[in-house]
């Protein structure tokens, strides 16, 4: 009996998936990646559009995947949360609920978050509160605006995105809230602001300059050095906070630990999306949302050009894919992104559509290789990196990975070749040091032997000639 229902479940899941318009295999996007010199080279995509879900949504702003595969969409324009089953059938909607016996309703909710124990948190933006629901979508509690002496007088609380960590601490961000991420403790009491965004130093200098030449009235109208606000937020399993930062921040993406310390690792350049000087149809990348998966990879979706940038834990750019447009698989106004069942789901605000992107072979290989590398299994990682480099000969991290394994095996000369291809000067230097030592050791022995022999020869010759002189001298004396 149980078995039968399981089969039925699978069947219905299959049917439901069939209802999703499947997409052909051709990649509708121009993927590329940047090399060391920030030139854009063509590259395979790590994810490709797989299917699309379209529903009766109005300006939806956020989506989040639950631990059991359910998908929660903040249907902002309709003042509700739409919950989808793993098979994309509608599980239910949530707009009205009983709050302590009184009927209550959501108003313009712009953020959803689901915890590992299936608790739903909604940023009920227009009501200025966070509302928590249990797994049956029953009301649990509402958390209002923070109350504290440390708040600015003009501070207005506009909760638009929310995230909750394992210990139940609640993080809230919203427009104009540039004091930092609002942090509530598990009881819903305001704790502090964390991770205050740094202001781009250039903005500050130009600000100072304009201040100098402004009249007092003009100056009064201008706010004091406005640090940047946070636009979006996500958490990983360890409770690290991944953020999308506002426009005048010195970096568009950020990673903070639970104490608000910036822990973003960066390679040669910060994760900024497109490099501004590359002229890829106009200007910096402006991100809408960020999502992090269990392997430490994080992906951010960008509004203007509809691109998704995937980085690894070290902040190395792994893949750039997708584009903006009206066609299937393209985005008009992507608003939210999340990992779901090893796929990516992207919510399009303008089209009211959720696009499912499946991982390609290339994307899977990269994740495997990075994972093995991080575990210190350089040799196994190198095997996978070799496959990656066959799919994308321009991918520098692959060569670095192969080089690392070669260096571990002691083949410094070959490792140097790969580190050069990877443009990894630090590792190249390490390999070169080893290689130079080997060469010197070989040559040094021979050179020293020759030198010693020569010294011995000179010594013997001197002794001999001194002896001969003495003998001659004695002969001379004897003759005399």
């Amino acid at each position: 009996m149980r078995r039968k229902t399981a089969v039925l479940g699978v069947l219905s899941a299959l049917l439901a998936f069939a209802a999703l318009p499947a997409m052909s295999g051709a990649a509708p996007n121009e993927s590329y990646n940047y090399d060391f010199f920030q030139n854009a080279d063509p590259a395979p995509p790590a994810y490709m559009p797989e299917s699309i879900w379209e529903g009766d949504l109005k300006d939806p702003e956020d989506l989040h995947a639950g631990p059991d595969g359910k998908i929660y969409i903040a249907d902002t324009g309709n003042d509700r949360i739409v919950v989808l089953n793993e098979d994309w059938s509608v599980y239910g909607t949530l707009s009205e609920f009983m709050n302590g016996g009184e009927p209550d309703r959501l108003s313009g909710p712009r953020g959803v978050f689901v915890t590992a124990d299936n608790r739903l948190y909604v940023a009920d933006t227009q009501n200025g509160r966070i509302v928590e629901f249990d797994e049956r979508l029953e009301f649990v509690r509402a958390i209002g605006a923070p109350e504290s002496d440390i708040l600015r007088k003009e501070f207005t609380y506009i909760p638009s995105k929310v995230a909750v960590d394992r210990t139940g601490r609640i993080f809230v961000v919203g427009p104009g809230m540039y004091d930092g991420i609002v942090e509530f403790d598990a009881q819903g009491k305001f704790d502090s602001f964390i991770g205050v965004n740094k202001v781009n130093p250039f903005t500050r200098i130009s600000d100072l300059f304009w201040r100098r030449i402004m009249t007092r009235e003009q100056r009064a109208k201008m706010a004091l050095f406005i640090p940047s606000e946070f636009l979006n937020i996500d958490l990983n399993e360890q409770g690290f906070i991944y953020t999308v930062n506002g426009l005048n921040s010195d970096s568009p993406l950020g990673i903070y630990n639970a104490n608000g310390v910036d822990i973003m690792k960066t390679g040669r350049a910060k994760p900024v999306g497109d490099y501004a000087d590359n002229g890829t149809n106009g200007g910096k990348s402006t991100f809408a949302d960020i999502a992090v998966n269990g392997r430490g990879f994080y992906s951010a979706v960008e509004t203007a050009r509809g691109r998704i940038f995937t980085y690894d834990r070290e902040g190395r750019l792994m893949s750039i894919y997708s584009r903006s447009g009206d066609t299937q698989g393209a985005f008009k106004h992507p608003a939210a992104i999340d990992y779901w069942n090893d796929r990516l789901i992207v919510l399009d605000k303008a089209l009211g559509r959720v696009t499912v992107l499946g991982k390609t072979e290339y994307g899977e290989l990269i994740e495997q290789a990075v994972g093995l590398y991080e575990e210190g299994k350089f040799k196994e990682a190198a095997e996978v990196w070799k496959k990656v480099s066959r799919l994308n000969a321009n991918f520098e991290p692959a060569y670095a990975g192969i080089g690392k394994a070669l260096l571990g095996e002691g083949d410094a000369k070959e490792a140097m070749k790969y580190f050069k291809l990877a443009n990894d000067r630090e590792q190249y230097s390490n390999a070169f040091k080893k290689y130079r030592k080997e060469v010197l050791r070989n040559v040094f022995g021979r050179v020293m032997n020759i030198l010693l022999l020569a010294a011995a020869a000179v010594f013997v010759y001197r002794k001999f000639s001194a002896l001969r002189r003495r003998v001659r001298g004695e002969e001379h004396e004897a003759n005399a």
Binding site: F37, K420, R425, E426, S429, F432, K433, R436
Partner: protein
């Protein structure tokens, strides 16, 4: 030919004994314009060589994309600008140097740069990242020595006191800026005038 080579070799003497050397350069004719131009060519070469042949560890340039003219821009334009600005200023400030003497003295002052950077560039192929500080040290020394020689050369050519030389040097840099500004302005305006004329011509052609 022999004479030019002798004059060229005199750069080595100037590096060691700048005061004496620049004096002889001016009054004893130990240097020459041909040798000076060779020194500038050598300097230009050392710039390109440094960009292309520095060891991989220290070379952050995209070496398969080279535009020699773009590289020479950093040598020839400052050199010409400095000579012109210096000459223009010192003629007003009782300097004794002729334009040719300024060119020669300036060119000889640059001699330490290729002399140091070329060997350092070669050495950079055989050292690791940690030992790199040495490279920067030597390069810095070369540039310091070049500045000192430029100062002494200018002082000798114009027969100035030290303070006056330093003062004229600073003014010269300002003058270089002014020339650059006027030059850009000039080119910009010419461009506007040309495009204006072209537009009128096109318009007439279209109407007639």
């Amino acid at each position: 030919m022999k004479r030019t080579l002798d004059q060229l070799a005199y750069a080595l003497y100037i590096i060691r004994r700048p005061f004496d050397g620049f004096w002889n350069l001016k009054y004893d004719g130990r240097g020459g314009l041909a040798a000076a131009l060779i020194l500038i060519a050598l300097l230009s070469f050392s710039f390109v060589f440094q960009r292309q042949a520095t060891g991989f560890i220290f070379n952050y340039n995209e070496i398969d994309r080279l535009n020699v003219f773009q590289q020479l821009r950093y040598v020839l334009i400052p050199f010409v600008l400095f000579c012109v600005a210096n000459w223009a200023l010192t003629t007003l400030m009782d300097g004794e140097g002729k334009f040719k003497e300024i060119v020669v003295a300036t060119a000889y002052a640059t001699a330490p740069i290729p002399l140091v950077t070329i060997p350092v560039t070669i050495v950079s192929n055989f050292i690791t990242l940690e030992e790199g500080a040495l490279l920067y040290l030597f390069n810095q020394l070369a540039y310091f020595w070049f500045c000192w020689l430029l100062l002494v050369g200018n002082m000798t050519v114009h027969q100035y006191s030290m303070t006056k030389t330093v003062f004229t040097m600073l003014l010269t840099f300002v003058g270089m800026g002014v020339i650059l500004f006027i030059g850009l302005l000039f080119f910009n305006l010419i461009e506007q005038v040309v495009s204006f004329a072209v537009t009128i011509y096109k318009e007439l052609k279209f109407r007639l």
